[in-house]
């Protein structure tokens, strides 16, 4: 009798345990899941931003996050507000750098990464991206009198690259494949690279060409620097988010599509790139063909 009671109570307990919803279950399509569920429950969106990725994501003079990508992300936040019916959604900003941006997306610390991140297939194993918002490629920043014009001229010289970027991989691969005797110096991110170049620690800085223009305007001596070389890689930028979250992806892409179609994207582009400026320094960066095509092709119909 006692054994039967024990047996029955165990069965009962197990049955009750099965009723407790497990987090790993996929919610039925009508319900929220993933980032949207988290945003709904916490009442805030956490955006990862960069500290000096001019003009995409950086700290302005009031030390607040600002930039082209940040503006696009705030647009996406507006779309999330509509989607979830939460007009009072708050936005929280967290600083990231190339080494921490992917881990912080993966562990739920940030919901959207709004910086200057290249969308490539390897990263898509760990994260997902919204529609492409910029097109660029790896080039070199050098001092005008250095005589360096292409990556091959780096023989016997040193080049700074940021750890964890596509530029690092491309430059390392090129140097190794062609046996160029160049020294690679790792920096935390592109702003530190500018510092290294200006203080003569390195002869060149390798990064996406648009970021290099951004560093020129940040510099106190912009006339001594120039961007040289052919594009060593194809780097389409996109806003990063967690993998397997089509609901969030749809919200983001929907908003971006609207911006592309209505021409508002071009307005935002002009705000930050025509011209690209910090303080007194300006550099005009007209929209390239690659980006124009991307805007046209990605304006998906309703």
């Amino acid at each position: 009798m006692k054994k039967l009671a024990v047996f029955l109570s165990v069965i009962l307990l197990l049955a009750m345990a099965c009723l407790v919803p497990s987090k790993a279950q996929e919610a039925p399509p009508a319900q929220l899941y993933g980032a949207l569920q988290k945003i709904k429950e916490s009442g805030k969106v956490v955006i990862g931003h960069r500290e000096a990725s001019v003009p995409f994501s950086f700290l302005d003079d009031q030390k607040q996050p600002a930039g082209f990508s940040v503006d696009l992300c705030l647009q996406i936040v507006e779309e999330i507000k509509t989607e979830l019916g939460m007009p009072d959604l708050t936005v929280e900003f967290t600083a990231v750098n190339p080494q921490t941006r992917i881990p912080l997306i993966a562990n739920n610390t940030i919901d959207l990464e709004c910086g200057s991140t290249t969308n490539n297939l390897t990263r898509r194993k760990q994260v997902d991206y919204a529609l492409t918002t910029f097109v660029t490629g790896t080039k070199l920043l050098v001092k005008k009198d250095s005589g360096i014009k292409e990556i091959e001229d780096l023989a016997g010289k040193s080049v700074a690259v940021s750890q964890g970027t596509t530029n690092e991989r491309v430059i390392k691969a090129f140097i190794e494949a062609n046996n160029i005797d160049a020294r690679i110096v790792n920096v935390k991110e592109v702003a530190e690279g500018l510092l290294s170049l200006e203080t003569d620690r390195v002869d060149a800085l390798g990064s996406d060409d648009i970021l290099l223009y951004g560093q020129i305007v940040r510099s106190k001596t912009p006339d001594t620097l120039e961007v040289v070389g052919r594009r060593l890689s194809y780097d389409p930028y996109a806003i990063m988010m967690r993998r397997d979250d089509s609901a969030l992806r749809l919200v983001a892409d929907r908003r971006l599509s609207k911006l592309f179609a209505s021409g508002e994207f071009n307005t935002i582009y002009s705000k930050w790139f025509e011209p690209l400026k910090i303080g007194e320094n300006t550099v005009p960066v007209p929209m390239g063909d690659g980006l124009k095509n991307a805007v046209e092709l990605q304006a998906f119909p309703e």
Binding site: Q126, N186, K188, T199, D200, V202
Partner: protein, 239 residues
């Protein structure tokens, strides 16, 4: 949230190489820094006890800044500031021609910081030797140098063994600060593996175990040493 365990990835190339090189750098940096700390720290510590006032004060000027500025800030001073305030030629050499600048900067920064701590231990050790011994030495006609050499130093170092071994362990942990100036030591490698493979738990657990292993090995080694050199009858402070 899901997490897929995959321990085998740590044994694959290049990740295994990364862990080993990280471990190697940690050990190398810590050992070299310890040599600097011991030598410099002893000199300063002894200088703090000599019966010449200006020497003592001067030595004090060394200890105070190095003990009251965080190690992280000190590393940044060595790495970013020093090359800019020395003469142009030396600055250039430091920034470009010095091989592995992150490595040497970490060694120097760690060494000088720990030297200040060692100096305090040495001073405390020397001061804790009963005054009677020094006086006996003076009475017997020994010079101060001889007193230091034959009485004070041998006794005080054996007394100081526990706190000194504690400092050695602390250096190992502080070597992790090298990652802030780009040194790819053990902690940095664990982070890099996490970034590349997403097997963060495996990487971090391995790094933690390796640090714990180093600690245990050092404790065992120094306990043996302590037992050999213990002086019966004099106060022995436990770690």
């Amino acid at each position: 949230m899901r997490y897929n365990w995959n321990w085998s990835i740590l044994f694959e190339d290049p990740y295994l190489g990364w862990i080993l090189s990280g471990l190697g750098l940690t050990v190398l940096v810590s050992s070299l820094a310890w040599v600097i700390a011991l030598v410099l720290g002893s000199l300063v510590g002894i200088a703090r006890t000599v019966p010449v006032a200006w020497v003592r004060t001067l030595a004090g000027f060394y200890v105070e800044p190095f003990r009251n500025i965080p190690l992280l800030v000190q590393m940044f001073l060595w790495f970013f500031v020093l090359p800019e305030i020395v003469p142009e030629g030396m600055g250039r050499w430091l920034k470009r021609d010095l091989p592995y600048p992150e490595f040497w900067t970490t060694v120097i920064g760690l060494g000088f910081y720990t030297a200040a701590r060692v100096a305090d231990q040495v001073r405390a050790g020397i001061e804790s030797v009963p005054k009677g011994k020094t006086q006996a030495g003076l009475a017997s006609g020994l010079t101060w140098t001889q007193i230091y050499r034959f009485i004070l130093l041998p006794l005080s170092y054996r007394l100081m063994l526990p706190p000194l071994t504690s400092e050695f362990l602390i250096i190992y942990k502080n070597s992790s600060l090298g990652l802030t100036i780009g040194l790819l030591e053990l902690t940095a490698q664990a982070r890099q593996i996490e970034d590349y493979t997403f097997q963060g738990f495996e990487a971090y657990i391995t790094a933690s175990l390796l640090y714990a292993l180093i600690t245990i090995l050092l404790l065992v080694a120094t306990q043996g040493l302590e037992r050999q050199l213990r002086i019966p009858g004099l106060i022995q402070r436990g770690t």
